[in-house]
Structure formats: C-alpha cells, structure tokens
C-alpha cells in the first residue's frame, strides 16, 4: 500500500523540479565580478575549440561610457564552459570606442586580450555555441574561427609554410547594434505643450540628392523662462527626437543633436540673447542641423525653431505612421513636444503636419 504513495510523491517532486538551464538562450546572463549585470549582445552558433581551431570574438564598444564585456561558451550539450562572473572570458571597463578580443585559446596569428580557460566538465567545443554579453548592448562584434598554430610566413623564404585556416562566423544580435543615441526609446511623458491646436509645424522633405533633404520644426506654446533653457553655450546640449507608430508602438525614427558650446566656422555655435539662445552652423556638422532658436516668453509667446538640411540630417524613411511625436529636449531634462495625428501630407517624399 505504501509503494504507490512513494511513487506518487516522487512523481510530484519530479514535476515540481524546474528543468536545468542550458545553452545560449536559456541560461541566465551572468553578473560581472564588479557587480554589474550582463545583457546578451549576440549569439554565436559554431564556437569551435578542437583540433587546433579556436574561436575569437572582436568587439567594439559603441556606447558613450565604459562597459564590461564577456564571451560565454557552451559545449554541444549546452553546458557552459566558462564563468564570466569569475573573470574567465571577461574584460572590465572597456572604454568608449575601444576594441577588445576574447578567444577560446591563444593563436599564433591573431592578438587576444583575454583567453578563456575551459572549466570542467567541458573540455572541448566540438562543436558548441557562445554568446557575447556586456553591461550595455551597444556593441558591434565580429567572430572568426582560426587555426591556432600557423602564421603567415613569406612564401619566398618559406614556400612550404602554410598560412592559417581562417573563416568568419555569423553573429546573431539580440538587438541591432546601433550606437547608443541621445533620445530615449519612447517619448518622454512630461514635456511642455503647444499653446493650441496647430501651433507647432513639422515639415520633412526627402529629396535626391540628399543635399536637398530638409527638416523644419516650429513650436509656440507653454510659458518658458530663459533659465529653463539651461546654458547651451556652455553645458546644455539639445536633441530633437521624432517618434512614430511603426509596428504599433512608439518607435524612434529620427535623432539629431546640437552639442553644447563649440565653434561653428569662426563664431561660437551658440549665441545668447536677452530672451534665449540661437544656434547656427552653416557647415551642418552636427546631424545636419543648421539653426535652432530658443526664445523664452509667457504662454503663447515662447517660440522654438529647429532647421536642418543635407546628407548629415538623419532622415526617417517616409511616409511616417501617425501619430507622430516630436520632442526637443536638453540634457537637464527640460523638453517641449508636439503630436501630429492628422498629417496634411504624408508620402514617400514629404511629411507636413500641424500639431493636435
């Protein structure tokens, strides 16, 4: 009589036990030894460490700050072969723009910054998988499988020396590895609004050649003091962000930045007036932005203007999917926006609308 109960108990216990994590997609991302949590940047099928072939990933930090980077490898059974958390296959505080190389073994022909030591029970990768993890997903990587023992010798002096076998491996990114931008992924919820319907104009023109592309945004609305603009002549950069509803949710389609300070030609890019600031860059060096006006005033008299043109102007593929939201913001968090639900024109070459 007791045996069935025991079987039932064991069965219930087995049902309650969660399956073991395994492989590149199922294993939780690690935490680096400095306590920072990792995110998955890219997956790499075909990680090989066998018969004198090793695998290297070469990654460049596209983020504006230092990041931790790691390369985790898994054998053919999905068992992880190294602990990034313990520093095995990890490089900490990789500066912006820097490039690092992490490999499953040292090679004669390539340079490596870090080499993974396989941990028991994993003894080889024949063939396995891997993933690049980092504290910021704004990374771009290349992967190579390379013969670890040969070098490239001059065939005139060593005609029998064979160069190394080398092949590229395709990485699958968790997200498109774009540079981290100045705009948030979705519109900020608390920006100042136009004074009334139709008081903010948006005009985009996509022409060929690209030198004829234009952007114009004019806004008149909520009262703003000059102090609210910060000091763009010294510290407050400005960014214009445009979102539409591509895919059914707010999607960033354009980001253009006018950095604080700087010299445009022979003059300061930003000039202060009694009521605000003006940005002028005839060379269109920063994202094609030519002119920005920030004029403080009481409700209805605050005026903003952003003009850009030319090939450096980031341009979304037209037409846009309304409602379209445009936000002008500063690094301090102050922002002004307008929403466009019913465009006057919205085709492959032009978008024109007045605000809701």
């Amino acid at each position: 009589m007791r045996t069935p109960r025991t079987v039932l108990g064991l069965s219930a216990l087995l049902c309650l036990v969660a399956p073991a994590h395994s492989g590149v997609s199922d294993t939780p991302p690690p935490t680096f030894s400095d306590g920072k949590a990792a995110q998955v940047v890219a997956l790499l099928p075909g990680v090989i460490k066998k018969n004198q072939i090793d695998t290297e990933v070469i990654c460049t930090n596209l983020a504006p700050a230092a990041v931790d980077v790691g390369f985790e490898v898994f054998d053919q059974g999905g068992v992880r072969g190294n602990q990034v958390a313990a520093g095995n296959g990890a490089l900490l505080a990789v500066g912006p723009g820097r490039t690092v190389t992490i490999a499953t073994g040292g090679t004669a022909v390539l340079h490596e910054d870090a080499v993974i030591t396989l941990e028991a029970p994993v003894t080889n990768l024949a063939n396995g998988s891997g993933r690049v993890v980092a504290t910021d997903v704004h990374m771009a990587c290349t992967a190579l499988a390379v013969d670890s023992v040969h070098t490239v010798a001059d065939p005139r002096t060593c005609p029998t020396c064979k160069p190394p076998t080398l092949t590229g491996l395709h990485l699958t990114y968790a997200a498109t590895p774009t540079p981290s931008g100045p705009c948030p992924a979705t519109p900020s919820p608390a920006c100042r609004k136009p004074a009334a319907t139709g008081r903010a104009l948006l005009l985009l023109q996509d022409r060929s050649p690209d030198t004829l592309d234009t952007l114009l945004w004019k806004w008149s609305g909520t009262g703003t003091a000059k102090a609210d603009f910060g000091n763009p002549a010294a510290t407050a950069s400005y960014q214009l962000c445009l979102y539409d509803q591509t895919g059914g949710s707010p999607t960033l389609r354009l980001a253009a930045v006018a950095p604080a300070g700087g010299t445009c030609g022979s003059l300061p890019c930003w000039l202060a007036s009694t009521t605000g600031f003006q940005y002028a860059d005839p060379a269109l060096t920063s994202d094609g932005l030519a002119r920005i006006l920030l004029k403080a005033g009481p409700p209805g008299a605050t005026k903003l203007l952003v003009q850009g043109r030319g090939p450096r102007l980031p341009r979304p593929v037209l037409p846009l999917t309304p409602p379209v939201t445009v936000q002008l913001s500063t690094g301090s968090g102050a922002c002004w926006d307008a929403v466009y639900t019913k465009p006057i024109t919205n085709d492959a070459a032009n978008f024109k609308a007045k605000s809701d």
């Binding site: 070469i58 990654c59 460049t60 930090n61 596209l62 504006p64 500066g95 912006p96 723009g97 820097r98 490039t99 690092v100 190389t101 004669a108 022909v109 390539l110 340079h111 910054d113 771009a140 990587c141 290349t142 992967a143 190579l144 070098t151 490239v152 010798a153 001059d154 065939p155 005609p159 029998t160 020396c161 064979k162 160069p163 190394p164 076998t165 080398l166 092949t167 590229g168 395709h170 990485l171 498109t176 590895p177 774009t178 540079p179 060929s208 050649p209 690209d210 060379a283 269109l284 060096t285 030319g310 090939p311 450096r312």
Partner: protein, 180 residues
C-alpha cells in the same frame, strides 16, 4: 618668481586637462569628416574586427547604388579607439565614385586581391603600424552604398596546384553593421 610662474602655468595646464571633455574615440563617437571636395560624410557601416597584424590585412569593397556619384571613405581605429587615417586629407577616400562603380580600399596591399587604394596609418593611439585588433567605419556622401569586408593574408596567392605546391592565402569575411 620663475618657479611660481612655472607653477601657475602647470596648474593652468592641469586644470585645462581636467576640465576638457572626454576625447572622441571609436567609430561612433569620432566626429565625421568632410571630404576634400567639401562634401560632408555620413556614417554608413561600423566594422568591428579590422586587423592589420602578422601579415593579415583588411580590405573593404564598396559599390555605389545611388543615382548620382558619391564620395566613399574608410576610417580605421586601433584598439584604443584612436583614428589612424585622415579621409579629409585623402587617405582612404574616393571622390566621385560613379553610379554602379565598385572601389576597394585595404589596410595594405595584398598579393591576392586588387586594391584601388591602401591606407597610410598615422601615429595616433598605439602609434604602431598595426591594428591588433581595431575597428573601422565606412563613410560616404550617401547612405546608398553596399560594402563587404574581408581579412586576408597579404603574402600568398592562389596558384594552380598542378604546377605549384604553394598554399593559398587565408581569407575570411568580417561582419559589418549597417547603420540606420
């Protein structure tokens, strides 16, 4: 007096260094150049894994898909993120590449492939005449270009095995990231 003056200059220099913003580095943070014909560049591709080391070099092959001639350039960055060539000065730059035309720029000449141009590295960053391993970006006056990149052994060529026992070169594609 002299010592005080030197001290003041030192403090001033130090405060200048401390107050300066972080130096631009790498393929996304470095300001885009203007081509020597005065036309501004846009960033088209980021290339992680540009290698110039141990007789390996990296070649970029780009085709103009636009309806007008475009300028195309390659900028390379070493492992520290330092820009190692000047497109504005013509290094790695092709002006007025015609519609449908293809150009090739390499970090050096190779025996196997054809290069229209090769780069001369400056002494920034590591200061060494190598990229171990670096990055790059393809820039142009239009986004309407397509490119591939390969890393290859610069010394070997493909010989007919019936008449030669020399081995063929190493060659591998590197994965470019096209920017939106």
């Amino acid at each position: 007096m002299m010592i005080r003056a030197i001290g003041r200059i030192g403090i001033a220099l130090l405060s200048t260094l401390v107050s300066a913003g972080p130096a631009a580095a790498g393929p996304t943070d470095t300001p885009l150049p203007t081509f020597s014909d005065g036309r501004p560049a846009v960033n088209v591709y980021v290339a992680p894994g540009v290698i110039k080391n141990n007789n390996l070099e990296t070649d970029f092959v780009c085709t103009n898909l636009d309806t007008v001639a475009v300028d195309i350039g390659l900028e390379v960055f070493d492992e520290t993120g330092a820009l190692r060539n000047s497109v504005a000065a013509g290094s790695g730059a092709f002006l007025n590449v015609g519609v449908g035309k293809t150009v090739t720029v390499g970090t050096a000449g190779t025996a196997e492939l054809h290069e229209d141009q090769t780069l001369l590295l400056n002494t920034a960053g590591s200061g060494l005449n190598n990229l171990r391993n670096g990055s790059g970006r393809v820039i142009a006056t239009s986004k309407n270009i397509v490119c591939n990149a390969v890393v290859l052994d610069k010394l070997h060529t493909v010989q007919d095995p019936a008449v030669s026992s020399l081995p063929p070169p190493s060659l591998a594609e590197i994965q470019l990231v096209k920017l939106p």
